[in-house]
């Protein structure tokens, strides 16, 4: 029954997804070609490997783990950038869509709206906006261009300046101090 080598592959009938992906034999051949290329070009970053992510179910990492430990490297970048915002002293957190804002000043206005009451209630406190980036580090908001910021920001925190001893620079380019004081 082995048809291999007789060139009959083209007459193979199969049930499967319409036009779905490469033929299985070709898949195997594609991979071995790429492996060979890898041998020859060890020093270059092989861009062909991108195509391997197209194979359904490979690598065999369960879908829950894929969704929860790789961030959004798996593609499917949505146009929404909802991040949590916490404020020291406020009883609960809020969420804000960064994609809706054009820049830092826009963001500040939105934050004021969200936490207006809490900000007013705080007694002569100054606030520093910090955010957690993709590496898990807490960064002062305002240093990097806005586009870079929304790409890497995972959550925001409006921190009391008083708590920031141990942090270096306290002057943020973002005019949060002025606008949010009392």
């Amino acid at each position: 029954m082995d048809k291999e080598g007789l060139g009959l592959e083209i007459t193979e009938l199969r049930l499967g997804l319409p036009g779905g992906g490469t033929e299985k034999n070709e898949k195997k051949r594609v991979f071995s070609e790429i492996s060979e290329e890898e041998e020859n070009e060890k020093s270059n970053g092989p861009p062909e490997l991108q195509s391997k992510s197209q194979v359904v179910g490979w690598p065999p990492v369960c879908s829950y783990r894929k969704k929860n430990s790789f961030g959004d490297k798996d593609g499917s970048k949505t146009s929404k950038f909802y991040v949590k915002v916490s404020m020291d002293g406020a009883p609960f957190l809020r969420k804000i869509d960064l994609a809706l804002h054009k820049g830092y000043s826009d963001l500040v206005k939105a934050l004021e709206k969200l936490f207006g009451e809490a900000l007013r209630d705080a007694e002569s406190c100054e606030f520093v906006p910090i955010y957690e980036d993709k590496d898990g580090d807490w960064m002062l908001a305002g240093d990097v261009p806005w586009e870079m910021f929304i790409e890497s920001c995972k959550r925001l925190r409006i921190m009391k300046k008083a708590d920031a001893k141990g942090f270096g620079v306290l002057q943020s380019r973002v005019a949060l101090n002025g606008t949010l004081k009392e």
């Binding site: 029954m1 009938l13 049930l15 499967g16 898949k27 071995s32 041998e39 992510s53 879908s63 898990g136």
Partner: protein, 572 residues
Amino acid sequence: MNYFPDEVVEHVFDFITSHKDRNSVSLVCKSWYKIERYSRQRVFIGNCYSITPQRLIARFPGLKSLTLKGKPHFADFNLVPHDWGGFVDPWIKALAKSRIGLEELRLKRMVVSDDSLELLSKSFPNFKSLVLVSCDGFTTDGVAAIAANCRFLRELDLQENEVEDHRGHWLSCFPESCTSLVSLNFACLKGEINLASLERLVARSPNLKSLRLNRVVPLDTLQKLLMRAPQLVDLGIGSYVDDPSSEVFSKLKAVIQLCNSIRSLSGFLEVAPCCMSAIYPICENLTFLNLSYAPGLQGNDLTKLVQHCRKLQRLWILDCIGDKGLGVVASTCKELQELRVFPSDPFDAGNAAVTEEGLVLISAGCPKLNSLLYFCHQMTNAALITVAKNCTNFIRFRLCILDPVKADPVTNQPLDEGFGAIVRSNKSLKRLSLSGLLTDQVFLYIGMYAKKLEMLSIAFAGDSNKGMLYVLNGCKKLRKLEIRDCPFGDVALLEDMGKYETMRSLWMSSCEVTLGACKILAKKMSSLNVEIINESEQLEFSLDDRLLVDKMYLYRTLVGHRKDKPEYVLLL
């Protein structure tokens, strides 16, 4: 046969607890069958379609604990369409109607609805334990029903489920009178919870031994919870982010010192590496450490932490620990039995985090190693042969080379010899997953040496039907065989049809099996369900027997065709 009255025999059976042994006991004679079935309290059903709930209830009226598994394993990798099956609802409905006093339900890869959970919570007054692993179909409303209605709940363990989160109230549904909790794991839930409710719940649960938090529980809440529950044995940390110089952090450091019962640590779903030093005092006693969901930790952080974990028996970690880091594990964790190394970036080969070197170091340093799951970028035959020399106790050996058909990069050879060495020297091997470039030869070795093998996973391997035949003929204990993208076809499938009655299931996708062969198999073997999963919209099922089948799943069953199959599944 019986020299003793039934009660005495039954008492003897009380000491026989493993499912296998109890099953064997029930086959000895009619009398033992009867005694065994009335005294059986725990039943394990590896495939929910192999039997009906009605027959289960009829045979074991004393049932207290039921374990059910639904979808095939490859469903984890999105190879099984969403609504294929595995519904728990008919089971819960049937049990609820009966007189069964269910106390414990453990489900894996099943579809669970909120209605099912609510019915469960209201039908069994002594219900104590719910464990859901890799399930889906429910929301936090269902979880709320369990919390609210199960008055003697001891265990609520949600592991890696896809749960729609309706935000927050479920935790507050535990009544004030609920003080029986021993284990609470909600790490997989995404939504907000009422932190104050959580604190109160922990405060009134003096028996709480296991607590796994989700991402939204911040560090200062963690500190308060640990104050209330210093007796914890198993802790899953949610968010672990703070300024190390803060007062909250100092409090946390202090309270962690008191938690000297903690043996198992996981989570760190959000983590600031600078805070990890607070954990070091409890590392000395840890036997299980799971950092595989903590992408915020780099190799250095992981290595520094592991150096404190001398008593570690099980380690789950991301590959950013690197070969060097695995070397540190090898020299520190002499009690290590199980190692799982997951890929931190499965699609980017540029950052080769772990290779064969790390595995060799581990094998040399950890003589008790018996269970391995290892994702790596490359493997060599020489390395596998060395591992096989160093480790002869493997029960589980799962190797995943991220490039599906990668040869030995040093010799350009397939990895047949390497895996051959593994099966030859590890005579107790029960589970094996292969990867890399492999020919029929590796299957010859497996058939020859892997005499205790129960589960085998194969992808992109082999040259011909011979490969599959070596396995089917040689592995007498085989229970589960799952194959994808291999050149195995009708000849292999049909050679020994009776074999499948000795197995739980066979999965074959993107192989060379025809519809005709599946029909022959289904016709000959009435004890098997042969399912063809066809997701293509265009094709009708009355087609040519010569058509190659994309996905076939067959399993033994006592109850024939299932009634709940979706349209795209053809039951032959």
